[in-house]
């Protein structure tokens, strides 16, 4: 019998390994052991998911498909199958609900979720490790997929932990060890630190999470703005955000930071087009439609500007979404102002209405 542990909170981050491609490899033995990517069929298609075999060739999510095919000519490209992913995700969430109440399961996307299992581990019947193992086992035997799980006292540390030993990993970070666990990791491991911030921190001599945690806060804020202090708190493993399963529907977003700040509208629209393709492919893979399209711009001084356009009926049409994104860009971008980062996001996500057999009586 597992010994209970006494963590202030027990939070699991469960991430299905190479979800999209694993679903196809599970269902079609011919795809096992070969490099597989899920991507749409358009000219501008980007990779939405790559199997571990494909990743060995450098194929990654968000990579344009034609580049992926150059890196790995034998890549097997599969069209996304939204209903199938959704069904797998539904089964996985059923498993989650055996371990905690629905409002304590926060789905981030089809293949990723946070679970607060504190109640399960605190009252003498189980512990974090056993719950994590059972979830992994049940996902494997019932859904046929492997998951990597991080267990910690916060969402942040759990997420970082699940990412450190993929695939099929299980990483526990007991209370009090968070800072030690995070310290040796490269700063890129902290969610929210993208390539550009990473460069900036590198130039300040900050290479590991430990460096960031110990850095003088004032200088960090001078260099990165208030966000710098937020990043530092994260680097110290301080995250009190609750697992919230009642959160409104997630958003799908993509963003890109420019090498050099861009002020030309045409260039911004070009970037917007690529980002829109990416989010729409993801939208279709998840078999949902969006009501709201937003564009966010980060200015050279790190200020964020964001504008959104809402539609009365949800859509997954790429042209419709691009037109909306362009008008959001027009609302948010003053001609010739320099932009450091551009992002596009979709929210108000809904599943398309299923066919409905009408009835004769009532």
């Amino acid at each position: 019998m597992a010994k209970p542990d006494n963590w202030p909170r027990t939070i699991l981050h469960v991430d299905i390994d190479a979800f999209y491609t694993s679903v196809h490899q599970r269902d079609d033995p011919k795809l096992r052991g070969v490099p597989v990517a899920v991507a749409g069929r358009s000219k501008r298609a980007v990779v939405m998911g790559a199997s571990y075999e494909a990743r060995a060739f450098g194929v990654r999510s968000a990579l344009p498909l034609h580049e992926a095919l150059q890196m790995c000519p034998q890549l097997v490209v599969i069209a996304p199958d939204g209903p199938r992913y959704r069904e797998a995700s539904r089964l996985i969430h059923q498993i989650f609900r055996r371990f905690t109440s629905p409002e304590l399961v926060e789905g981030v996307s089809l293949d990723e979720a946070y679970l607060d299992v504190t109640a399960r581990t605190r009252h003498g019947t189980s512990n974090a490790e056993e719950v994590a193992r059972r979830i992994k086992f049940q996902i494997h035997t019932e859904v046929g997929l492997t998951a990597s799980v991080g267990a910690a006292t916060s969402k942040l540390v759990a997420k970082v932990a699940s990412g450190t030993r993929k695939p099929d990993g299980l990483v526990l970070v007991p209370p009090g060890t968070e800072a030690n666990f995070l310290a040796p990791l490269p700063i890129g491991a902290i969610p929210g630190i993208g390539p550009k911030t990473e460069d900036r921190l590198h130039s300040m001599g900050v290479r590991t999470v430990g460096d960031l945690a110990a850095y003088e806060t004032q200088r960090l804020v001078q260099a990165l703005g208030v966000g710098g202090a937020v990043l530092q708190r994260m680097a110290q493993g301080r995250d009190r955000a609750p697992v919230d399963g009642s959160k409104p529907a997630k958003t799908i977003s993509a963003e890109t930071t420019f090498e050099n700040d861009v002020s030309d509208r045409g260039q911004l629209e070009h970037a917007l087009r690529e980002l829109t393709d990416r989010v729409v492919e993801r939208l279709k893979a998840d078999d949902v439609r969006a009501r709201t399209i937003y564009v966010k711009l980060k200015l050279p001084d790190f200020r964020l500007v964001s504008r959104q356009v809402s539609r009365t009926s949800p859509t997954d049409d790429v042209e419709t979404i691009f037109r909306a994104a362009r008008s959001a860009l027009e609302k948010s971008h003053v001609e010739s102002r320099a932009v450091r980062l551009i992002g596009v996001g979709l929210s108000g996500l809904e599943h398309p209405e299923p066919d409905l057999q009408l009835t004769l009586f009532d």
Partner: protein, 381 residues
């Protein structure tokens, strides 16, 4: 009957083929799971016409009399499954059946076989209601079988609403109207009846019972006696030496007449065989949830199509007489096929009144049959 059974040393001779066939039909009334073990047995009784076989699950009862030479009268009950299976294997030579009344051992001698089956006394068998009194009417066997076939498949199999698992049988104005619905489609078939006089009655007959009717009455002469018990809780169908009895379902049947469309904005006339073949082919691509085929009618043609994401799609256009406005509507393909399979005419008329209103199928120019289907509201895409 009691005294007779105890003393009897029943002795009859018959042909295994005839007996075997009757045993198979009668066995249809036996439930696979029953809490009363005696109901796994078939009641065997000698009568003046031959050997009577009766089985029941207390809801449905089936009785058939097979030609037999009765040398000694008697009765018993034999395990249905064993007797049916065994008789089914016998060569087509005289089968001599003898009961030892004291031991209830049934001896079957046929060709090289000498077999004993342990039986249970006939008195143990629950006495079924007999069709001797009640309101009687008479219908043509073929008409009845057709009307049942045209309606019973539309009944529900969902026990949550028991009345819908039955077929409504209405007796009025010298005729019978059969109606069945599962809430998604409705089938109504009419036939004439003799001797109904001014009798009016509304009965809900389990569809399961009616499904056995054609099998039970097969091979009998052309008329069927329909007898409704005085207490209005049983119905009997009797033709020649075959009989089906059924308990009636208690409850209030929905007012189906109100959902029969009274107008239509589009009328289509098309070959039944061609439509059947087309729906069957296209619906292979309608594997998704509601088994949806899309129907498009425009001047001179009817187009059917279906799509399933992972499978593919199919479209077929056929020549049709189309009268009225163009329409696009979607249905569960199975509901359409169910009707086409029983309509029994070379041509079928389809009537629509908008994509969200019930559609209707009927034989052109005839009033005896109609079939209403609710459409599927398809997701926009």
């Amino acid at each position: 009957m009691k005294a007779k059974a105890i003393e009897a040393q029943m002795k009859v001779t018959c042909r295994p083929a005839v007996l075997g066939q009757a045993l198979q039909v009668v066995s249809r009334a036996i439930s696979s799971r029953t809490t009363l073990p005696i109901l796994n047995n078939i009641l065997i009784e000698t009568t003046s016409e031959g050997l009577a076989l009766t089985a029941t699950n207390l809801e449905i009862g089936i009785r058939k009399i097979v030609a037999a030479e009765v040398a000694m009268e008697g009765s018993t009950t034999a395990p249905a499954r064993l007797l049916t299976d065994f008789v089914g294997t016998l060569p087509d030579q005289d089968l001599e059946i003898t009961l030892d009344g004291a031991t209830q051992s049934l001896n079957l001698r046929c060709a090289r076989f000498d077999t004993h089956i342990k039986c249970i006394e006939a008195e143990e068998f629950p006495p079924g209601p007999r069709p001797d009194e009640g309101d009687r009417l008479e219908v043509a066997l073929d008409d009845l079988v057709t009307a049942v076939e045209q309606t019973q498949m539309a009944a529900s199999t969902d026990e949550a609403r028991p009345v819908l698992t039955g077929v409504l049988v209405q007796v009025q104005a010298g005729g019978l109207t059969l109606a069945a619905t599962d809430g998604h489609r409705l089938a109504v078939s009419k036939l004439s009846a003799a001797g109904a006089g001014d009798l009016e009655a509304s009965l809900i007959v389990p569809a399961r019972a009616l499904a056995e009717l054609s099998r039970v009455l097969k091979g009998e002469p052309g008329r069927v006696d329909v007898i409704i018990s005085k207490a209005r809780n049983q119905i009997f169908f009797k033709a020649g030496s075959s009989e089906l009895t059924s308990r009636l379902i208690d409850g209030k049947y929905p007012n189906y007449a109100q959902v029969i469309p009274s107008k239509s904005s589009t009328k289509v006339k098309v070959s039944t065989a061609e439509l059947t073949q087309t729906v069957r082919a296209v619906s292979l691509f309608a594997r998704d949830s509601a088994n949806v085929i899309r129907v498009k009618a425009q001047a001179g043609s009817l187009t059917l199509s279906a799509t399933t994401n992972e499978v593919g799609d199919s479209k077929a256009e056929m020549a049709a007489d189309v009268d009225g406005s163009d329409i696009q509507i979607a249905f569960n393909a199975r509901y359409v096929l169910d009707a086409l399979g029983v309509i029994g005419e070379n041509e079928v008329e389809l009537m629509f009144d908008g994509p969200l209103s019930p559609g209707m199928l009927r034989p052109p120019g005839k009033e005896h049959y109609l079939y209403v289907i609710m459409p599927v509201r398809v997701a926009m895409s």
